[in-house]
């Protein structure tokens, strides 16, 4: 399931949805937050811009790819857009499977792929001014490692 939304989400509610079958033995979650990472140059807020027509389509493709690679029973990606503040949730990836490894691997794959393949761009509003977040080499490498 894919949700692209401005408002916050409730992890407990998604946990219930992911565990709706009795053959599910494990659930894995990743929740990404807005981080104020610098004492010297405080990040006051972050605005996430996206390409609405393309976003859901790309997230669906990424979710389908995970379903073909691992035996997952349920999966969910929630990605927020708009203005967020340090501590706010940005993204949730959740997967459920019979055994833990499938859920954990698929969850890690989903977040790695969507970092560089989902059409979002982050504008950090810092003490020193606004700055668009640049592509992280580590994120590009993480995608390559999945083959």
């Amino acid at each position: 399931m894919i949700k692209v939304q401005k408002h916050d989400f409730d992890v407990n509610k998604e946990l219930k949805l992911l565990s709706n079958k009795t053959n599910i033995g494990g659930i894995s979650f990743f929740v990404g937050l807005v981080r104020d990472d610098s004492e010297k140059d405080r990040c006051h807020s972050m605005t996430l811009q996206h390409y609405p027509e393309m976003t859901e389509r790309m997230l669906e493709q990424i979710e389908r790819e995970a379903q073909t690679r691992w035996n997952i029973i349920n999966s969910i990606i929630i990605h927020r857009y708009g203005k967020l503040f340090p501590g706010d949730k940005i993204v949730l990836v959740g997967t459920s499977s019979e055994h833990r490894k499938e859920a954990i691997k698929a969850c890690e794959f989903l977040i790695d792929w969507l970092k560089t393949k989902a059409p979002f761009w982050k504008l950090e509003e810092r003490e020193s001014g606004s700055k668009w977040v640049e592509e992280n080499v580590k994120d590009v490498e993480a995608v390559k490692n999945w083959k």
């Binding site: 990404g32 811009q49 390409y51 027509e53 393309m54 389509r57 790309m58 990605h79 940005i90 993204v91 977040i111 969507l114 970092k115 560089t116 393949k117 989902a118 059409p119 979002f120 761009w121 982050k122 504008l123 668009w132 977040v133 640049e134 592509e135 992280n136 994120d139």
Partner: protein, 83 residues
Amino acid sequence: MNIKYFSWLRDRIGIEEDDIELELESISVKELIDLLAKKSDRHFEALKDTSIIRCAVNLEVVNFDHKISKNDEVALFPPMTGG
């Protein structure tokens, strides 16, 4: 042809979308960027480093040699930073 811009490309060019008349039936992404760069100084400055520009045609990311047709939906943007 309509071209959408996102992120700092939108800020630097100063508009969300562009419209250009295509003389040919199709054009490569690289040729389109070269054409757009001639529109103004702001276009030129924003589009000069193509190593940090990506293109989506009909909602799929494509290479710079991809041929675009007149009715395709085109978007230019920097590398994506989701998650």
